[in-house]
């Protein structure tokens, strides 16, 4: 499954550790949420980066005490239509100030890329290679957004007010990304 990180298809440096399997020394790992919560002190004291997969029906706020020691949080999309993790992503980014890798995993298609990016995800485990390759195209489809979002793109309201302040019509300008 191709991984798109910050807009580029990259190798996944993380190893998935399932259930109670041993955690390999020195490797960046992603562990299940239950395993992490049971063993958080030990897992976060390792030398290597630690990440976890957080289910979409559990309050992401529970992670607050550990956020400064987590290198990655993966949120799940069991299917295209299940949007709970969008709320979790925004809460992690905006409320709890999590700045490290936020990964979308599950049923990820190109038509979600823009929503995911704007909700605060910066890495995506994409189902189809063709979709991953089309990331830039999918993300560049829109230049206009009505809402403030986690990725900080300029929004319509600010552009309008700037235009009013300048006293003229807005010219199509490249967005600050």
């Amino acid at each position: 499954m191709p991984l798109v990180r910050r807009g580029r298809v990259v190798e996944d440096r993380y190893v998935r550790v399932v259930d109670d399997a041993p955690v390999p020394d020195g490797a960046a790992v992603i562990v299940p949420a239950a395993r992490f919560m049971a063993d958080a002190a030990e897992l976060t004291s390792r030398e290597a980066p630690i990440g976890l997969i957080w289910p979409n029906d559990r309050n992401a706020g529970e992670l607050a005490p550990w956020l400064d020691r987590l290198a990655l949080i993966a949120l799940t999309f069991p299917n295209f239509r299940d949007g709970r993790a969008y709320s979790q992503a925004r809460q992690l980014r905006e409320r709890y100030g999590f700045r490290r890798e936020l990964r979308a995993t599950g049923e990820i298609l190109r038509d979600q890329f823009l929503f995911l990016t704007r909700a605060g995800f910066d890495s995506l485990e994409v189902k189809k290679a063709a979709d991953a390759a089309a990331f830039a195209e999918a993300i560049g489809r829109y230049s206009v957004f009505y809402q403030q979002s986690a990725n900080g793109w300029a929004l319509v309201q600010r552009r309008r007010l700037l235009r009013s302040a300048a006293g003229g019509e807005c010219i199509a300008t490249e967005l600050a990304r």
Binding site: F80, R81, D82, G83, R84, Y86, S87, A89, R90, E94, R95, L109, D111, L114, F115, L116, R118, A119, A130, R141, Y142, S143, V144, F145, Y146, Q147, Q148, S149, A150, V156, Q157, R159, R160, L161, S164, E169, C170, A172
Partner: protein
């Protein structure tokens, strides 16, 4: 009118380009139908019984004459020469080919129309009073707030994959013409004790198989907090709404299961954390949106001008129409004119391309180029000078748009039913057509007074049968169409669900049953001023039940 600026136009154009690409990927087989489905739904494209259906949003029910002409063009070029106005200020085209959809959307986009978020599990078209901005009983124009919400909730990164669809309606008038209490969120602009205007927030209303009237969770919300509070509601719903059962996924079920108070508490906790952040509305942003609503340059005119006085009494048809379809305007010398899309024997809400063009021309001539669409599936010319009423009536009459039955027994709200819809269990349009033929006598209809009949061809309740004064619900039993009849429902500020009067009746009997109910009302009412609803309130359903089932 709200005038799109280049940013609004850019977004719609980008959406069309994206959809063109999605259709191409579907046609090439790169996307499966299952993968394509949520994408087409977010653009208002359904797969119906016979063809794809395209639903176009008419935000807060306001259309320009140029937009109406484009709808006529789409009806003619891509459909079978007509369109169907729905109960949520949308229009549907029923016979569009998938390959032609992107071009139809591009044509619509050229006048700022689109199908974004008219279906799918997202925030749908935000609706309001079709008389917004002209109604004498409103405290301010609710469309500004509908537009603030529309923009904020368009392609929202968090709320585009909700458990189920989400409908918001607003009213700012004493009389609720937007049915806000049967919406997922209903907002009522009103003035508090200190004289400030703000919103009463109601949540969890809805019809479908489990109907509820919305409950108030915030009696007064300051305007600056509108977006943060709506986001808090949506976030609680997105996180906790059920996703395991499509029939229990609407917010009304969550509100019911938690209880309105507990739900309100969850929202409050979430809201406290975001209310003073970036979502707090900047008055400059609201002013900027309000500034793009353009109002007509009304002339200074007197009420009841000589031209109108002279026309009165000259033609019975004109007098009947004037009494029925013309309402007071907040500006002296003007009137609000409703155009009935319920001709005798016609499918409710349908308009042909020729009618749409005629309406666009009349709007240019008599209504500052503006048209409105209401949830009762009728159209409105909102700014007609009273001196022009007689001329307008003659033109409307010639186009079959002056049936004087607005709010009366034959002004039936109906879903498309089995003639089009893949969900329907029974027909509903033919039921409406038959009832409208039975009540073709205009004197009788006028004598009956306000009487709303609503018909749904299945439990999904798109015809809002629960809130019809007489509600008709089609159900299937052993491969035969049956109809349950309720009475006493209403969708206004005193919204209530109708009561079932007895066992379901056969298709062939529905119009007879309606006649029996009407006859019972005529016998029971204390005087001609006592409305059907008042009579039902006073007597209960028993006398109606007795009459209907005495011989069945």
């Amino acid at each position: 009118m709200y005038l799109y600026d280049e940013l609004d136009r850019t977004l719609v154009a980008e959406r069309v380009a994206e959809f063109r690409d999605q259709v191409a990927r579907r046609l090439s087989g790169e996307l499966t139908e299952e993968e394509f489905k949520p994408l087409r739904l977010m653009n208002g494209v359904y797969l119906q019984l016979h063809a794809y259906m395209l639903r176009i949003a008419i935000p807060y029910g306001t259309l320009s004459s140029a937009q109406m002409r484009m709808l006529a063009h789409v009806a003619r070029r891509y459909d079978r020469n007509f369109g169907h106005f729905t109960t949520r200020q949308n229009i549907q085209f029923n016979w569009i080919k998938l390959e032609e959809l992107p071009q139809a959307m591009a044509d619509l986009a050229s006048v700022g129309l689109h199908g974004m978020q008219t279906s799918g599990n997202c925030v749908r078209n935000i609706t309001t009073d079709q008389w917004a901005g002209v109604a004498p009983d409103e405290i301010e124009d609710p469309r500004i707030w509908a537009e603030v919400l529309r923009q904020h909730l368009t392609m929202h990164p968090e709320f585009s994959f909700l458990p189920r669809k989400f409908k918001i309606a607003l009213t700012a008038a004493a009389h609720d013409r937007a049915a806000v209490k049967v919406h997922d969120v209903g907002l009522r602009l009103h003035r508090n004790g200190a004289g400030e205007t703000g919103f009463e927030v109601m949540v969890g209303g809805g019809l479908g198989r489990t109907p509820f009237i919305a409950k108030t969770i915030k009696p007064f919300l300051a305007k600056r907090d509108l977006l943060s509070y709506v986001e808090a509601i949506l976030r609680v719903y997105n996180s906790f709404g059920r996703r395991d059962n499509i029939y229990k996924a609407r917010i009304k079920i969550l509100v019911h299961d938690l209880g309105a108070e507990a739900f309100a508490k969850e929202v409050e906790v979430e809201w406290r954390q975001i209310k003073d952040g970036p979502l707090a509305l900047d008055p400059a942003v609201v002013d900027d949106i309000a500034a793009r609503f353009r109002y007509p340059a009304y002339e200074r005119l007197e009420d009841s001008p000589p031209a109108l006085a002279a026309a009165r009494g000259s033609d019975r048809g004109f007098d009947a129409w004037l009494a029925n379809s013309v309402a007071n305007h907040k500006v002296d010398g003007y009137a609000i004119v409703t155009l009935s899309l319920k001709p005798e024997g016609g499918p409710p809400g349908d308009a042909t391309a020729e009618q749409m063009e005629a309406i666009a021309d009349l709007a240019d001539r008599y209504s500052f180029g503006e048209i409105r669409v209401g949830h009762e599936q009728n159209l409105v010319l909102p700014h007609v000078a009273q001196r022009d009423l007689a001329r307008l009536w003659r033109a409307l009459d010639a186009s079959g748009l002056a049936t004087p039955n607005v709010g009366l027994v034959s002004d039936i709200i109906s879903c498309p039913g089995l003639d089009y819809c893949s969900l329907a269990n029974t027909r509903s349009i033919p039921v409406a057509q038959e009832i409208s033929r039975r009540f073709r006598d205009r004197d009788l209809a006028r004598d009956l007074g306000p009487l709303h009949i609503n018909i749904s061809g299945c439990i999904n309740a798109c015809g809002h049968h629960h809130v019809g004064h007489i509600g008709i619900l089609g159900v299937e039993k052993n491969n035969e169409e049956f109809f349950q009849i309720t009475i006493g429902g209403r969708a206004d500020e005193d919204a209530a669900l109708g009561t079932l009067i007895g066992p379901a009746v056969r298709y062939a009997d529905v119009a007879d049953v309606v006649e029996d109910i009407v006859a019972t009302y005529l016998e029971l009412r204390e005087d001609p001023q006592e409305s059907f609803l008042h009579t039902v309130d006073r007597t209960g359903i028993e006398p109606f039940r007795e009459r209907v089932y005495a011989t069945r």
